[in-house]
Every structure is written in structure tokens, then in C-alpha cells.
């Protein structure tokens, strides 16, 4: 690895490129229209090298995690279409861009920036459109099972031809979406952002020359790569295996496993997800096309790099050493028909999986698992004045972050969701007549205990008076398995949802798909606490006391779990010493990870080898049949396990055969047609 460019100019150009990327994002924010742009900042911008790598991306505005955006295929296609000065290209299809777009709601525009008839580099920008057509308003629904339900698929297409809008395309596009004016407004904002970047790059070319600019583009990429490799080299070589789960129980999918073998070889990271579960028939598939450094996977690595070196150069050089190995048909590399709308939830769990693997290599650097949920609680009520249905965001719901190796987790928010802002109760109540937010506070005793405890979860309690109110909350996770603790630390509390708590009508309702409420119903939601780090019996008694007097830990938990006896706000030291001796004797051996009883019980029934064997057994079948065989087999096996039988490879083979037989009864015996995909 050598730095091509002069080391002074590197820093100057790095700053100039950064300024352009940031300015482009600011322009889009200022001129964008839809709520996603203004409120959640779900848009992005970047500068792209000729080879399709991000050489600068914003760090403070919009989506700031996109350095691993794979643009090579999109550029190949725009070159085939012919690139001219003033052209802008558009696409949203994951398949035809090989993972540049990862769901249809993100509309990408890119523009070649010319000098003397040749493109020097590219600017790209995307916006999460609030609606791109499809089965449901807003386009995204977890229950969607194929991409065609998720909106209009746009292949790489010339959107501006020498500065002129492609009217035929625009008309087709706007006819297929529910909010055409807003979408057109957002596209105009992207075009303004791209023009800004073009002007700034041209200023640089005027000052330094095109060859020098291109040389520095390569220079800053190489520089970031060198910085990343210097950090990765510190990680001991070896293979680190970890898996975690997503929860598809609402859609008949049980839990879905993301399994990673992280192979560290010198300064390269190989992320092998080949044993991750196959793609599923709901919308959590993630189309990475196994691209090197893909941003939705590399996110977990980039966060670690930026934690280790906060001022690190921020571009695709960081993810050059990150290689993905994901076979087609996998949850993380599904076929082109798979539904992908809710892939953000999957991204969070991948980050947890990478953390778990890295934690084995770097036990002193990686936090325990955070809440792992980033759901958006929506309420829809009929507007009594107009009779129309009104949908409003009540609150983004995340929980505490995982404990760090040297300090507690953060209460009430997790890094993965750390960019979100909550909505003031005073705004919610003013805008939704008849909705009262009775409480919004930290959740006592939810944090995973440890020498360093996790962050606590959040409790939200609301009372709803209008008739026909319904609640949805897409992205709820960790209601089955807990956020894991580390190094003898305990896991955090699971999520909990109940209706009318403390009354006779109290009901534990778990994850919400669509919930209808009666007037006066009280809904209570409690998010997860982050996992703990280190043995809770080693926690400084004074910290436990602080948590007790601040009300975050109950006196009971302080005694039972931490062995710290707090009386009248003071630590009873003698009693604490005694209690800790007793608890230490009773304590089961901990370990690198504290997963909690639910996951341990599940893996008692479904050990790693069995899960892998099941995936291998169904692998030869075409995608729809594979899902069907897998889901039915799991259900039948669980039923047998409930009767006391132990699930085995042989049992699974029998069950698969049984399910297949049930599908082919109408054909009589013999033949193997089903396997060739007639389903």
C-alpha cells in the first residue's frame, strides 16, 4: 500500500471533497419536500469515483453510513446508455443495480461530471420516497412477500438528457405513485444537490486541473484504505463465528438466523454468511448481491473503525478490506423477486452479528448488544371533521444501548437508532386530538446487569379515545430473545407490550402487527434494555447505589442480582460482602456471551448443527418451495418436540419427505416434478 499523492495535498483535498458532499446533502435537506427528508433525514448523497467507489460522503446530514455504496454496476449501465454532459440517470431496482438500491423506496439519481468531454467522477444522491406505489400506502409492509408488491421497479434510465427531463419516463413514474407532486419535488431537490456538487468539482478542476483531481480521488481512497488496514491488522487472525436472530413469528417464519463466520486474514476481513437462513417470504430480505463492503453489511465494521479512530477518512477505502461471501438465495442475497422493504431491521441485526464476532477477537473493545429494535409507532384515526383517515407518527421506539467494556450503556437509545429524534408529547397531543401520552420514561430494572450495565429501555403509555383507532409498529424485534450480555454480563430485558395494564382487561399482546383499540384503551410499550458487560457482582457498589437512588434499579434487583444491599440510600457494606459471597457461590459459570434462558432453550431444541442441516436439506429446492418446506418442517418438528421428542437430522429428513408427499398427493406416487419447481 502506498500513498500516491503528496501527504499535504491529501488533507487539503480530503477536506474539499468532504465540503462538497456535505454541501450537497444540505442543499437536498433545504429543498426536499417529503416528511422523510425533513423529519427523519432519510436521504443521502455521495461523490463517486470512476471505478464506482464513494470517495466522499456527508458525516452530519442525512443517512451518513453509505461509504460502501456499490455503484460499479449502475455506472456500467449508464455508460451503456451513453453518458453526456448534463445527463442524469435514475434507478431504484436492487437487481439491475446489483445492490446499489436495496429497496424500491430509495430513488437514486446520479450524474457524471465532465471535463473536456470525459467524465472525471460522479455525484449520486438518493431519497427515501414516502410512496413509490405498490400494494400498500407508503409501499413498505413487512407482510409483503414479493418485490412486485413494493412499488414501481425502475431500471437504470436516463432521467435528464443533456439537461432536458425525460418527460415520458416522468409521466410513467408519477402515474404509478400515490404522491406524485411530492415525489417530483424531491427529485428536483436531488437534481439541485447534484448540480451543486458538479459546480464545486468543476471549481476544483479549474484550480488544480482534472488530472490532479482524479489523482487525489485515488489518493484519498488509498489513504482511507491504509487507515482501515492499519486498524484491522491489530485484530488477531482467525475465524470468529457468531449468530443472532430476527423474529418472523408474526409471518409464520419463526426466528430467522443470521450466522457469520468472520475470517480475519492480515488486514482483510472476510464476512462469510453462507450459513445464514435462506430468504424468507416477508420483507426482511436484504439484497447485497454479496458486493464487497456493501454499506448495509459493512455498517457494523465502519462503526467499529470510526470508534477506534474518530477522525478517520470517511470513504469507500474503509470497506475495501471487507469481503462478503453470501450465496444466492440467502436472506442477505435473495433472488430478484424477494420482498426487501423492511431490510433496515435486518441491517441492525447484521451489525449485532458482526459485533458478536469481533467481540471474540477484541474482547476489550466491543459493547454488548443494544436493544436491537428500531420501530416506528404509528397511529391512525378517522378525522371526525373530514371522515378521512389520518396517520401520525407517535414515537420512534428503541431501547438502551449495550454496556461498553469501560462504561455503562446509554439509557433509552441505541447506537443503531441514535440518529432518531423523539416527538414531544406536547406536539403529539396537540396534533392528535383524543390521544394522551400518560408517561414516557426510562424503564426500571430493564438494563442488562453487569459490572457495566446496559442502557435501560423506555416505557411509553398512551390512552386513546377516538373510535376506530389502529396502531402499527413496524420493526419490533427482541420480544423472543434478549439483547445479549458479554463477559459474564447478563442480557437486557425483552420488549413487552400490554393492553390496559393494571386492570381486569390486562392483556400481554407481544409484537404488534395491526392493533385495533377501543375508546379509552391504554397501551403500554416497554423497550429492551441493553446487555451488561462483566460480572454484576463486580460492579462498584456505589454505582449500584446511584442507580437505586436514581430509581433505575430497584432495591430488590440491587440485592438479588448485584448483591448490593442498599438501605435508606446507603450501601450496607457488611451485608453486601456477605450477599456477594453467597451469590458468587450460586452463580452459574457465565461466558463470553449471556444470551438468556429463551435463546438457550431454543438452541437446546435447535442446536447449530441442526439448523445448518435443515438449511442444507432444503437448499436444492427452488425458492418458493424451499420456504414452504422449511416453514412446515419447523412447525411439525416443534410440535413433536412439544410431545417430548428430540429433534434430529433424521427427524427433519422424514418431515421434509412428509411435507413433500403432501404436495404431490394429486399425482399419485413416483416422479420428482415438484423438485423442478412446479409450485
Amino acid at each position: 500500500m502506498k500513498l500516491q499523492s503528496d501527504r499535504i495535498l491529501i488533507e487539503i483535498f480530503r477536506n474539499r471533497f468532504q465540503a462538497i458532499a456535505d454541501e450537497m446533502a444540505v442543499v437536498i435537506l433545504r429543498t426536499g419536500h417529503t416528511v422523510f427528508v425533513k423529519e427523519t433525514g432519510d436521504f443521502g448523497a455521495a461523490l463517486i469515483s470512476e471505478s464506482g467507489e464513494v470517495f466522499a460522503a456527508p458525516v452530519s446530514v442525512g443517512v451518513t453510513i453509505m461509504v460502501g455504496l456499490p455503484m460499479a454496476e449502475a455506472l456500467r449501465r449508464s455508460r451503456l446508455l451513453g453518458e453526456d454532459e448534463g445527463d442524469v440517470f435514475i434507478a431504484n431496482d436492487p437487481h439491475l443495480t446489483r445492490g446499489m438500491a436495496t429497496h424500491l423506496s430509495d430513488i437514486f439519481l446520479w450524474k457524471p461530471i465532465f471535463h473536456e468531454g470525459k467524465p472525471v467522477c460522479y455525484a449520486v444522491a438518493f431519497i427515501h420516497s414516502s410512496d413509490i406505489g405498490g400494494r400498500v400506502a407508503g409501499s413498505i409492509a413487512p407482510s409483503n412477500y414479493e418485490i412486485f408488491q413494493e412499488g414501481l421497479r425502475i431500471p437504470p434510465t436516463k432521467f435528464l438528457e443533456r439537461g432536458e427531463v425525460n418527460r415520458e419516463f416522468l409521466e410513467l413514474f408519477l402515474l404509478n405513485v400515490r404522491i406524485p407532486e411530492q415525489n417530483w419535488g424531491d427529485l428536483k431537490a436531488l437534481l439541485t444537490g447534484l448540480s451543486t456538487a458538479e459546480r464545486r468539482i468543476k471549481d476544483l478542476i479549474t484550480r488544480y486541473g482534472a488530472a490532479a483531481v482524479q489523482d487525489r480521488i485515488r489518493g484519498v481512497l488509498d489513504y482511507a484504505e491504509a487507515e482501515a488496514r492499519a486498524i484491522i491488522t491489530r485484530v488477531p487472525d482467525g475465524t470468529y463465528t457468531f449468530w443472532d436472530y430476527m423474529e418472523g413469528d408474526q409471518f409464520g417464519g419463526g426466528v430467522v438466523r443470521i450466522k457469520l463466520h468472520l475470517r480475519v486474514e492480515g488486514s482483510d476481513l472476510h464476512l462469510d454468511f453462507s450459513e445464514t437462513d435462506p430468504q424468507v417470504r416477508f420483507a426482511i430480505n436484504m439484497p447485497t448481491y454479496s458486493q464487497r463492503g456493501h454499506w448495509m453489511v459493512a455498517f457494523g465494521v465502519v462503526n467499529w473503525l470510526r470508534t477506534t479512530a474518530p477522525g478517520i477518512t470517511y470513504n469507500a477505502g474503509l470497506v475495501r478490506p471487507v469481503h462478503l461471501h453470501i450465496p444466492e438465495g440467502n436472506l442477505l442475497n435473495p433472488d430478484e423477486r424477494a420482498a426487501v422493504g423492511v431490510r433496515a431491521a435486518t441491517m441492525f441485526r447484521i451489525a449485532d452479528t458482526i459485533s458478536g464476532a469481533l467481540a471474540q477477537a477484541l474482547p476489550e473493545e466491543i459493547p454488548a448488544a443494544g436493544s436491537g429494535q428500531g420501530s416506528i409507532l404509528l397511529i391512525s384515526t378517522p378525522d371526525p371533521a373530514t371522515g378521512k383517515t389520518r396517520v401520525s407518527v407517535v414515537q420512534p421506539l428503541a431501547g438502551g444501548s449495550g454496556a461498553r467494556p469501560t462504561k455503562d450503556g446509554i439509557d433509552g437509545i441505541d447506537f443503531l437508532m441514535g440518529y432518531l429524534r423523539n416527538i414531544p408529547t406536547e406536539v403529539i397531543e396537540a396534533e392528535m386530538s383524543g390521544v394522551l401520552v400518560l408517561g414516557y420514561a426510562l424503564r426500571q430494572d430493564s438494563a442488562g446487569p453487569g459490572r457495566w450495565r446496559g442502557g435501560t429501555g423506555i416505557e411509553l403509555e398512551l390512552q386513546v379515545f377516538p373510535p376506530y383507532a389502529t396502531i402499527t409498529n413496524r420493526g419490533m424485534e427482541r420480544y423472543i430473545f434478549r439483547p445479549w450480555g458479554r463477559m459474564d454480563g447478563a442480557p437486557g430485558e425483552k420488549g413487552r407490550t400490554s393492553l390496559n395494564p393494571g386492570t381486569e382487561r390486562e392483556q400481554d399482546i407481544g409484537k404488534i402487527d395491526v392493533l385495533s383499540l377501543e375508546p379509552g384503551d391504554v397501551l403500554y410499550l416497554a423497550t429492551q434494555g441493553g446487555g451488561g458487560y462483566g460480572n454484576p457482582l463486580d460492579r462498584d457498589p456505589d454505582r449500584v447505589r446511584e442507580d437505586v437512588i436514581n430509581g433505575l434499579v430497584s432495591t430488590a434487583q440491587a440485592g438479588d442480582v448485584y448483591g448490593v444491599i442498599v438501605q435508606n440510600g446507603n450501601v450496607n457494606e457488611a451485608a453486601t460482602v456477605r450477599e456477594r459471597v453467597i451469590l458468587r457461590r450460586q452463580q452459574l459459570p457465565g461466558g463470553a456471551f449471556g444470551f438468556g434462558p429463551e435463546r438457550l432453550a431454543y438452541e437446546e431444541r435447535w442446536p447449530d448443527t441442526l439448523q445448518t442441516a435443515l438449511n442444507e436439506a432444503v437448499a436444492p429446492y427452488p425458492v418458493p418451495l424451499r420456504s414452504f418446506l422449511r416453514d412446515r418442517t419447523v412447525r411439525l418438528a416443534e410440535a413433536r418436540a412439544e410431545r417430548g421428542e428430540k429433534i434430529s437430522v433424521r427427524m427433519l429428513q422424514e418431515l421434509i419427505a412428509e411435507v413433500r408427499r403432501s404436495l404431490t398427493q394429486h399425482r399419485g406416487t413416483g416422479g420428482d416434478a415438484a423438485q423442478r419447481g412446479s409450485c
Binding site: 499535504i8 477536506n15 470508534t307 446509554i410 439509557d411 396537540a430 420514561a441 430509581g551
Partner: protein, 673 residues
């Protein structure tokens, strides 16, 4: 001769004093080191020295305006009162949860700042207002009494009260205040609706808590300062500057100290804008660069205000002059990373130990060391020779980087300035985009100790063709104190759809705010030439989640809808005249225009302006650069870069490519040749 106006600005390194003779407009200036332990000591000592030098007595001073960072420092250092907070049941974690968002969510070591009031000192009481101001649960005064007693027993000496929807109905907060005052007589008590009655419970609560946290300290500071100055013979009214660029009486400042938090930098912008207006410049970007920060603000006819400034870790939603940092100033430390790439900042040597050349123990090279090494700053002429710098230390510090980079200290120094400028550019360009400003249409007005030194290099980089260096670049904040107006802001959350019927109600709501504003001016009891009201409505299309500020300069607001649609179109490029429109907040800013002194720079001292020349290294080439004495440059004097202009409080560096002339008010005006 006389009377005299006296402006004092307490900065982190220096306390600046400017005295203006109202009859002649002649200013005089003094800088004394700030005394952080007892800031009033430097004020007293500086005032005495300045008056003595001008052969004046305290009684000759007609107005004393004073700006202090004491409130800001109290928050940043967390050295305020032990505050107890009383909130609505269910909302104990207002301060813990904030608005959730983390400042740096990609860094696993990030933390959310711990609140000024720990969770154990927050008490919930039964009470509940609804959004329309109706009472849902009456206040349980008994619970308030218990909470106050508990908190007092825990050692709280100040109390903040924040109830939900208090902006719509403040009666519960008022009742609770009475209860707390009865139980804890003499305690500093503050309610959220008094501080800033705007919807959004976290921000309103945070404002009330900050005001309570710094209240006691600021109140006694102002009281003590006033009594000391009175004892020394001061008879003039004592005023304090405000974050919104205005002034208020010291008495009011003791009640509402939160409004002094950003007053220092705000006064600088006021001073800059006053000078710009005098020379007919409408569009100006101010650059205030000192030892610890480089701040910019945009003036486009008037100031721009922001409602999302931060004091240390906490948001302040009261309107403040919109000022953004674009870097760490002359104290920014230069270093090389593991790969040998040259970096500047974000660490700063600050005021202490300061740059290596200060000789106060700093060994790391800074931007200021680069100026000295290159010969831009004359080490023997810093602060008029009162604080000589050690060039040898600067060169040594830069030479350590030279070893890594294979360059001489001089070459490194030049590269440090290049990198520092690129970093400022990286902040500056997106910031201008956020303001919707094309910097090419603007002039930069530079002040602060390092502003004149660096501004031309920044201007070249960002494409600004015109640079203004005022005659007192080091005293602009103190000058701003003297030309500020009485200014106060009032807000009301109206939150209704706008229809033909409700326009009349809205007008009524504006009249209410204006009468509050009128009362404020009357109570301040300070002579003003004229009073005007600036009205704005925060509006949006029904169902949107963000608002647009619509200025309403006429008393008649019947065309408010037309104005909204027009403004929306101007900002977003489209408008929907048929869609229903909501008004969320309305604001009134009252301006009591003070009588401004006419600043006149005295006739220049005689003698040749050209002091000689120095050799500096510019873009890798050594060149001879003429050095001018600022106080001898007469109106009309002109020269081309490269050139250096020295004066008491700063050094101006003009690179090649700019031509500079001195205007008849003593400003240096630089333009691209």
C-alpha cells in the same frame, strides 16, 4: 467633550474595553487579561486604567454596557446551583431522554450528556393540562409541598418547575411556584412558562433548568458588580448584552440570565453589522477568529436568528444571533497521523497553555505558531509589544513536524495554514448552503485577534472578492455593546388552522404579545429613540411536521395566507394555495432603538506608514513583503498584496492578488485585483 459610553466584553483570554466620546465619536480601547476566578476584578481594573489614561472619572460615563460569558461558563463547567426539578407525573425523564438523538451515533464510546439535574432530584406531581389549556387533572398542591421539602432536604437551593402544556395554561406552574416559595423562602424559583412559553416540553424545561442553574450566581454577580461600580462613582445605567444582540438592564439580566449565554459573540456581530451599515454594505459574512474559535454569521440586511443554539451540552430555544463555528482559531494544534499526513485540529491549545510561542509551556505547534514562523506576525509587536512572543519556540514546535514530513519549519508552517484553511472551507461551504447564501455575493468582515490575519486566505479559498477589516478588530464585541438596541423576544404557541374567522383571533394574539413587549420596554426604563415590533408567524400546511417562518412587517395581517404561500414558493419552489394552513407559534421581537454614537476614527498619527519589509515564505517561495503601521495609514492610502499591516490588537496579512485601500472611516477594504 463627553459624555462617554463604556463597553466591556469579558472573553476567555482578554477583557476588552472600548470607550467612545459621544460628542466626537472618538473611540479608545484597552485589553486586559481576564480574571476567570473573579471576572469583575478585570472589569474594575480595566475600567480604572482606561479612565485614568483618558483622564476621566466614573461620573463622566453616561452608559455602561457589559457582556459576560459567566452564564455560559457556569453551564460548561457545571458549577451552578443544586437544582430540584418538579414535573408532571409520568415525565421524570424529560432531561434524561432529551430528544433521544445522539450526537455521534457511530462512535460506540459516545455518551449522552448527563443532565444538570440528576434523576434523583426530579419529582413528579399529580397535575395535567391538555393541549388546549384545559385542566385534565387538577394540581395536587400537597404533593408539590412534599416534593419541595424533600428536595430542600437533599440540598437543593434552586427550583425549576415544568408542567406539560404550561405554554397553553400556566396556572398550575404559578400555583406550584407559590407553594415552593412558601416552603423554601429565598430560594431561586423559576417556571418554564416564564422563561419561554413555547410548546416542546424538553426544550422548554431545559431553558427553565438552565436559567435556574445559573440564576443565583448571575444575580449576585450583577448585584455585586453594580454596587462596586456605584461605590467607585458610576452613576450611569448599567446594561447587559443579550444573546439576541440586544441589551437589557443588569437587573433584568439577573432575572433572565439565560439570555446572556451567547451575548459576547452576539455583541461582536452587532458591532460588525453597525460598521457594515455605516459603509453601505448590506450583505456581509462576519468572521470572528480568536485564539480558541473561528465563528461566522450572515448579515443580509439584518441579522439572522437561530432557535437551536447550544450552551455546552444543552439546547437553548430562545432566539439568539445565528453564529456558527467553522474551526478552532489560532490555537488549533497541528500534528501528523500514523501515515505522516499533516492535520490541523480539532484539538486546541486554547488560552492556556496557548500556542508554543506564548512561552507558557505549550510545546505543540499551532496555527499562531505558523504565523510567527512565516514572519506574518512580528513576535515583538504582539499586542503592541506588551506581550512579546518567542519565535524560537514556534519554529522548534513546527520543526518536530518537519522531521516527519521531511520539510523545513517554514515549509511546514505554510502547509499548516493551507490545511487550516481547507478545514475552515469544509465547514464554511455547507454552512453557506444551509443559509441559502452564495458567498460570492458577500463581503467578509473579519475581527478578533486572528481574523484579519487569516481572512484573506479564507476569502481566496471560498471565492469571496471583498474583505473588510475594521479599525478596531480586537474591540468589536465591546463596540457592539455600545451600539446595540434594547431587544426582547416574546412567543406564543397558537396552534390553530387559519381561516377567515381565526385571522381576527390571530391578530388579537399578536396584540397581546405586543402589549407584553411594550410593558417590557417601559419597565427597562432606558431612553430610546423609537420602538418597533417585528412579528413572525411559524406556519405550515396542515399535517406537515416542519414550519416556515413568515415575517409580518405590517400591523394588518389579513393577507397572511398570501404571504405564507409566497414565502413557501420562494423557499421550496412550489406552493399549494388551496391547502389548509396552520399557524403553530407566533413571535414578536420588540426593538427599542438606542441613540447610536457616530464612530469617528481620529486623524492618523503622522509619519510614514511603511515600517519596512520582512521576508516570508508564500506558496513555497520566499518573498519580501512590505509592513505597514495601521495607525499611520491615512484615508485613501492603497497598496497591493503581498503586504502586512500591524496594529495594537491584530495583524492583517494580505496575500498577492488583493488590493487594499483605507476608507475615510479607517476600515481596510480589500478587493480581488
Amino acid at each position: 467633550m463627553g459624555p462617554y459610553r463604556l463597553g466591556v466584553d469579558i472573553g476567555s483570554t482578554f477583557t476588552d474595553l472600548v470607550l467612545i466620546d459621544e460628542s466626537t465619536g472618538r473611540p479608545s480601547m484597552l485589553k486586559v487579561p481576564t480574571t476567570p476566578r473573579d471576572p469583575a476584578a478585570a472589569v474594575r481594573q480595566g475600567v480604572q486604567a482606561l479612565l485614568a489614561a483618558e483622564r476621566l472619572a466614573f461620573g463622566d460615563v453616561s452608559i455602561f454596557v457589559h457582556g459576560t460569558t459567566l452564564a455560559l461558563n457556569t453551564v460548561i463547567e457545571r458549577s451552578g446551583a443544586q437544582v430540584g426539578l418538579i414535573v408532571t407525573r409520568g415525565y421524570r425523564d424529560l432531561l434524561e431522554l432529551r430528544r433521544l438523538r445522539l450526537r455521534d451515533p457511530q462512535n460506540f464510546n459516545a455518551d449522552r450528556p448527563s443532565p444538570l439535574v440528576p434523576r434523583r432530584l426530579v419529582r413528579e406531581v399529580s397535575e395535567r393540562m391538555l393541549a388546549d389549556g384545559s385542566v385534565y387533572v387538577p394540581l395536587n398542591a400537597g404533593e408539590v409541598a412534599i416534593a419541595a421539602r424533600d428536595l430542600e432536604a437533599e440540598g437543593c437551593t434552586a427550583f425549576a418547575i415544568c408542567f406539560l402544556h404550561a405554554y397553553a395554561n400556566s396556572s398550575h406552574e404559578q400555583m406550584a411556584r407559590t407553594v415552593v416559595e412558601e416552603i423554601c423562602p429565598g430560594a431561586y424559583v423559576c417556571t418554564s412558562h416564564e422563561v419561554w412559553p413555547q410548546r416542546r416540553e424538553y426544550e422548554r424545561c431545559s431553558a427553565a433548568v438552565i436559567n435556574t442553574y445559573v440564576g443565583g450566581r448571575l444575580k449576585s454577580y450583577f448585584t455585586r458588580l453594580e454596587s462596586e461600580l456605584r461605590r467607585l462613582g458610576l452613576t450611569a445605567p448599567l446594561l447587559s448584552t443579550k444573546s439576541n444582540g440586544g441589551v437589557m438592564t443588569a437587573r433584568t439580566a439577573g432575572e433572565r440570565p439565560i439570555e446572556t449565554v451567547f451575548s459576547g459573540p452576539a455583541a461582536g456581530v452587532i458591532g460588525a453589522s453597525y460598521l457594515a451599515r455605516m459603509i453601505g454594505e448590506e450583505r456581509v459574512i462576519t468572521l470572528d477568529m480568536g485564539g480558541t474559535s473561528a465563528d461566522v454569521s450572515v448579515i443580509n440586511g439584518g441579522y439572522t436568528f437561530s432557535t437551536d443554539a447550544s450552551a455546552g451540552d444543552f439546547p437553548i430555544i430562545l432566539p439568539a444571533i445565528d453564529i456558527s463555528s467553522i474551526g478552532a482559531g489560532g490555537g488549533s494544534i497541528a500534528w501528523t497521523d500514523a501515515m505522516g499526513v499533516l492535520k490541523v485540529g480539532p484539538r486546541s491549545a486554547g488560552a492556556s497553555p496557548g500556542p508554543a510561542c506564548y512561552g507558557q509551556g505549550g510545546t505543540e505547534p499551532t496555527v499562531t505558531d505558523a504565523y510567527v514562523t512565516l514572519g506574518i506576525i512580528d513576535p515583538d509587536w504582539f499586542l503592541g509589544g506588551t506581550m512579546p512572543l518567542k519565535k524560537g519556540l514556534a519554529v522548534d514546535a513546527l520543526a518536530t513536524l518537519g522531521d516527519v514530513l521531511g520539510q523545513t519549519a517554514q515549509e511546514v508552517a505554510w502547509n499548516v495554514l493551507q490545511v487550516a484553511t481547507a478545514k475552515m472551507f469544509a465547514q464554511f461551504a455547507p454552512l453557506m448552503a444551509r443559509h441559502g447564501v452564495d458567498p460570492r455575493d458577500y463581503a467578509i468582515l473579519a475581527y478578533g485577534g486572528a481574523g484579519p490575519t487569516h481572512v484573506f486566505m479564507l476569502a481566496r479559498e471560498v471565492g469571496v472578492g471583498k474583505v473588510i477589516i475594521p479599525s478596531l478588530p480586537g474591540g468589536l464585541c465591546a463596540l457592539g455593546c455600545l451600539v446595540a438596541d434594547l431587544r426582547a423576544d416574546f412567543v406564543h404557541t397558537w396552534n390553530r388552522k387559519l381561516g377567515p374567522a381565526s385571522v381576527a383571533d390571530l391578530a388579537e394574539a399578536f396584540r397581546d404579545l405586543e402589549s407584553q413587549a411594550h410593558r417590557w420596554v417601559a419597565t427597562e426604563d432606558f431612553p430610546v429613540a423609537a420602538v418597533r415590533y417585528e412579528r413572525t408567524a411559524e406556519m405550515r400546511y396542515a399535517g406537515q411536521s416542519f414550519e416556515l417562518s413568515v415575517p409580518l412587517d405590517e400591523i394588518d395581517i389579513s393577507d397572511i395566507l398570501v404571504r405564507f404561500h409566497a414565502r413557501y414558493h420562494a423557499v421550496y419552489g412550489y406552493a399549494d394555495p388551496d391547502a389548509p394552513v396552520e399557524v403553530v407559534d407566533i413571535r414578536v421581537q420588540v426593538v427599542g432603538e438606542t441613540i447610536k454614537p457616530q464612530l469617528q476614527i481620529p486623524t492618523r498619527e503622522g509619519g510614514p506608514a511603511l515600517l519596512g519589509d520582512r521576508s516570508i515564505l508564500f506558496e513555497g517561495t520566499p518573498m519580501r513583503v512590505p509592513v505597514f503601521d495601521r495607525k499611520r495609514l491615512t484615508a485613501g492610502a492603497a497598496f497591493s498584496g503581498p503586504a502586512i499591516v500591524e496594529q495594537y490588537d491584530s495583524t492583517t496579512f494580505v496575500p498577492p492578488g488583493f488590493r487594499v485601500r483605507t476608507d475615510h472611516r479607517g476600515n481596510l477594504i480589500g478587493e480581488v485585483e
